[in-house]
């Protein structure tokens, strides 16, 4: 099942069919295997055909044959040239002249075979009014050939067919190696770019057929064979298997799946075939959404690369001008053929291939590594900015805490006990959707308190609930709400409530009959890893700030326990936004971490918005980076990754620029033979590819003993023990 070409062939910002990097301004269009594909460079077209074309016999190997036959001619030319240079018996003028003609006969098909792709590209670019790297190569090869052919016909002493052929062979080889490296760099991203062109094995009464996932609707039955990726969200109808969901949930170990259980699109089926019934349309899965986001992120040019590309374009014109003036200068100093060789070396060595590769490769590998650990980075630019961040804004609810209030304390005041208090409160809360109600019911369930519903329940938003239960009026809510209903708190009750509030809890009152009977204290449990994460941020030299819309006591309790640098409570969305402005002025770029739903404005205002564990539609989020549920622990690692990516880009650019500058100076001075220049140039690109691929090692998170996601989540969401609630 060789997938057809990418569906992402929109003219603006599509991706190369081989290496999946952006095509750039002038993609190379080729018709292959009956479909048209677009490639970012000649090397990618070459590599694509060689690696994918095994089944498609005729067209597949054409380019490799080209390279092989070209190399055959080139080797013969080199051999004869070496003999000509080396030994005296060949110095006979007549013999030398004969050899020159043989060289010409070999070099002409050679130029056609290996030089033509470069020439075609150069001409196409020239028609559009641009100069590219191909222009440099073509100019060099054609001028070397032209001069040598003329020298042969006029019987001059030196010809330079060998130089021309070796330059062409080395460049073709360099392009091929570069493309292979780029495809390798995109290996991690491949499963996430797959959904757009994913096919599913649809099982119907009349048989099975392969169809594009985007055409399928909920209810269709899809067979997934072992080793295949699950193409749709759905539940298993038949079959047993172990499924690797790491791509979607970050869960490292395969999960056993049987009939009735849910499987997620994008997970890898392990051991057995599964029949899955689709629950949502093929396009509506999280996998498809991530795929769109990743493809989009690759199309966003990063700021550094944008700059490098603009410089490279200007650079090419400058190099052509330099080469011409170098030839003119050296021709005035000595023989013309020597001057021409020096000009050729200048053209060859100046090719800014490595410059164009420096940033996108490192960024892509970085985004891929992050994805492998469940962190979705929406653009390379976001990753670059994350490395420069000085302040980390942390939201409390849902980020540092589990986001679900749990009943911490159930305090009976007068004429009742804790169990009875919980039983009556639960009866009243039973029909409610409020977060606190869920906390009460969960606690009642955990304490095995039987719950029967109260009658005539009325809710006052921001106040509480009242109703009738077992013949008495009953209410629960804020102190003011109960006062409105006619219940007055006792002095002892007020003191108790104040103590609980100071501990960071949210307190509600419960009353029935004539009196207020007790207090319920809720708190949002701190995630166990929060402390360690803040410590890791401080070690990286970041300023940590806790922002929350919650009450001061609750925020302060959290702030002291995780030791953030500063905190601010009772913030409205406007307050949060102005806090971002303020912190940016005082410290530098600001990143904000939130749950992505309530914190949209905050995340949008920050330089980098990071959402944690949000299942909302990715496309509508303000966040540029999305961490999985319970993925707070990955934050320091992600920052480390961003810094390393940035460092790699800097090294790549420094290398590409520095190398070009030094080599260019040497070549212009006449100290660099063109063949060596070509070899160095190909080597330079390969070095940049290699340096970027080293980033793959960052796969292992840096913080030792980082708990797997599932454990961290489970710990954070653990209910307080029953004994804790009913104590007192």
């Amino acid at each position: 099942m060789d997938p057809p070409f990418d569906a992402l062939t929109s003219p603006a910002g599509a991706l190369c069919a081989h290496c999946r990097l952006p095509l750039g301004r002038r993609p190379l269009k080729r018709r292959l295997h009956g479909e048209s594909g677009q490639f970012c460079c000649y090397g990618c077209a070459l590599a694509f055909q060689v690696t994918r074309g095994v089944h498609e016999e005729a067209e597949a190997a054409r380019l490799l044959i080209r390279l092989g036959v070209g190399a055959f001619l080139a080797m013969n030319i080199m051999l004869l040239s070496l003999l000509l240079y080396s030994s005296s018996p060949w110095d006979e003028p007549a013999l030398r002249q004969a050899v020159h003609y043989v060289l010409l006969a070999l070099a002409t098909p050679m130029l056609l075979i290996l030089g033509l792709p470069f020439l075609q590209q150069a001409v196409a670019a020239g028609r559009a009014g641009h100069a590219t790297i191909d222009t440099l190569i073509s100019l060099g090869a054609v001028s070397a050939y032209g001069y040598s052919a003329w020298a042969t016909l006029t019987g001059a002493r030196h010809v330079y067919f060998d130089t021309m052929t070796m330059v062409l062979v080395l460049f073709t080889l360099g392009r091929y190696l570069e493309a292979a490296g780029r495809a390798r760099a995109m290996r991690d991203l491949e499963p996430l770019l797959a959904p757009g062109r994913q096919q599913a094995r649809v099982s119907e009464p009349e048989g099975e057929s392969l169809r594009p996932v985007r055409d399928l609707a909920a209810g269709a039955r899809v067979r997934v064979l072992p080793g295949e990726r699950v193409p749709v969200d759905g539940h298993v109808i038949e079959g047993m298997s172990r499924v690797d969901e790491s791509l979607m949930t970050g869960e490292a170990h395969p999960v056993a799946k049987g009939p009735g259980e849910r499987v997620l699109a994008g997970s890898m089926n392990g051991t057995g075939p599964l029949l899955v019934e689709m629950e949502a349309a093929g396009e509506a899965t999280r996998w498809a959404a991530i795929g769109r986001a990743v493809a989009e992120s690759l199309r966003q040019p990063s700021p550094i690369q944008g700059l490098a590309d603009r410089v490279a374009t200007q650079f090419i014109y400058a190099v052509v001008a330099l080469a011409v003036s170098v030839v003119v200068f050296w021709a005035s100093q000595g023989p013309f053929d020597q001057a021409l060789l020096i000009g050729l070396a200048v053209l060859v060595v100046a090719c800014p291939c490595a410059l164009g590769l420096a940033a996108p490769l490192a960024t892509s590998v970085g985004v891929g590594v992050a994805l492998r650990r469940g962190a979705l980075v929406r653009s390379g630019a976001a990753l670059e900015r994350l490395a420069t961040v000085r302040v980390m804004l942390l939201d409390k609810t849902g980020t540092l805490t589990a986001g679900a209030p749990t009943l911490r304390r159930c305090a009976a005041l007068e004429g009742t006990d804790e169990r009875e208090l919980l039983r009556r409160a639960a009866a009243l809360e039973r029909g409610s959707e409020h977060a606190l109600a869920r906390g009460v019911l969960a606690a009642a369930h955990a304490a095995r308190v039987p719950v029967t519903a109260a009658s005539d329940v009325r809710a006052t938003p921001g106040g509480g609930l009242c109703g009738r239960f077992e013949g008495e009026a009953i209410a629960t809510g804020t102190r003011r709400y109960l006062e409105c209903l006619g219940w007055k708190p006792s002095a002892a009750g007020l003191a108790h409530a104040a103590t609980l509030a100071r501990g960071g809890s949210t307190v509600t009152w419960v009353a029935w009959g004539e009196r207020i009977r007790g207090l319920l204290a809720f708190s949002d449990q701190l995630r166990p890893e929060a402390d360690e994460v803040v410590g890791a941020l401080h070690r990286r030299g970041l300023h940590s700030v806790l922002l929350s819309g919650d009450r001061a006591e609750a925020v302060e309790a959290v702030a002291t326990s995780i030791r953030v640098n500063a905190w601010r409570a009772a913030c409205s969305p406007e307050d949060k936004r102005s806090a971002v402005e303020d912190l940016r002025r005082r410290h530098g770029p600001v990143a904000a971490v939130g749950d992505g739903i309530n914190d949209g404005p905050l995340l949008a205002a920050a330089d980098v918005g990071i959402a944690i564990g949000s299942a909302t539609d990715l496309a509508q989020q303000a966040a540029e980076i999305v961490l999985p549920q319970g993925g707070l622990m990955r934050l320091p690692w992600l920052i480390e990754l961003a810094c390393t990516v940035r460092r790699t880009i800097a090294v790549n650019l420094a290398w590409a620029f520095g190398y070009n500058a030094v080599a260019l100076a040497l070549a212009a001075a006449g100290h660099l033979p063109p063949v060596i220049a070509a070899a160095l140039m190909a080597g330079s690109s390969v070095l940049v590819v290699w340096n970027s691929l080293r980033l793959e090692r960052l796969d292992r998170p840096f913080t030792a003993g980082m708990p797997p996601v599932r454990q961290a989540t489970a710990a954070a969401e653990r209910q307080p023990a029953v004994a804790d609630i009913l104590r007192d």
């Binding site: 490799l64 044959i65 036959v69 051999l79 080396s86």
Partner: protein, 227 residues
């Protein structure tokens, strides 16, 4: 005389080639248009292969020449040639010993050099039609890592000049020709026992040539010129 020896070593060594390159030659297979076309196909393939060897030989000779002419002695030619001969002879002895089962790790290292990517690209060439494919196949095949080729390249470098170095590799290449033609579509694969004997024989030739080269570097110059 020595070139004949090299050709013989190449011939004996080609029993070793049958292991990997013979498999490739077989994979190249026959031509549907008949026996003549098949022979032509394999001749083209071998032309590509031998051309690569000769080219590499010429490069090695040029490199050897460059080393000799920058030798550290007052008589640069003599001293440089000796150093080169000693180095090449030692390398050849090591390679020869490999054929008798010594230096296993080294053997794996030489075989493992970047072979995988090349083999993948070779596979796509096999099926392609036209006269270009077998030629390109042969050219790439020539670059595949092979201890025998390395040993003879060392020998070629030791000659210190382009022409004799290229000739050395040509002799080696021609020596491998009969066996390679024999397997590729023309004949059947040899029995494993004979192949092992051939490999031993190749190792023997390598050891002999290596000793000769080494001695040329070690023995006093006068004695050598008498020889």
């Amino acid at each position: 005389m020595e070139f004949l020896l090299i050709a013989l070593a190449g011939f004996a060594g080609s029993f070793h080639c049958l292991g990997m390159c013979g498999g490739l030659a077989c994979a190249l297979g026959g031509d549907p248009r008949g026996r003549r076309a098949t022979v032509l196909r394999h001749l083209t393939y071998n032309t590509g292969r031998v051309t690569t060897y000769v080219f590499l030989g010429a490069l090695a000779g040029a490199l050897g020449g460059a080393i000799i002419h920058h030798g550290p002695s007052a008589e640069p030619l003599v001293a440089g040639q000796r150093i080169l001969s000693i180095a090449a002879g030692t390398l050849m002895l090591i390679m020869g010993a490999q054929f008798f089962g010594y230096f296993r790790a080294l053997h794996r290292a030489t075989i493992g050099l970047g072979g995988k990517g090349v083999v993948v690209s070779l596979k796509s060439l096999l099926a392609a039609p036209g006269p270009g494919a077998p030629l390109a196949f042969g050219v790439v095949n020539g670059f595949l890592p092979c201890p025998l080729v390395y040993a003879f390249l060392a020998k070629a470098a030791a000659t210190g000049a382009v022409a004799p170095a290229a000739l050395t590799m040509l002799c080696f290449g021609l020596g491998t020709l009969p066996a390679m033609l024999f397997t590729g579509g023309v004949g059947r694969l040899l029995a494993p026992l004979w192949r092992r004997r051939g490999v031993r024989l190749a190792g023997g030739f390598l050891l002999a040539l290596g000793t000769l080269t080494l001695l040329r570097g070690l023995l006093p110059w006068t004695l050598h010129s008498m020889h």
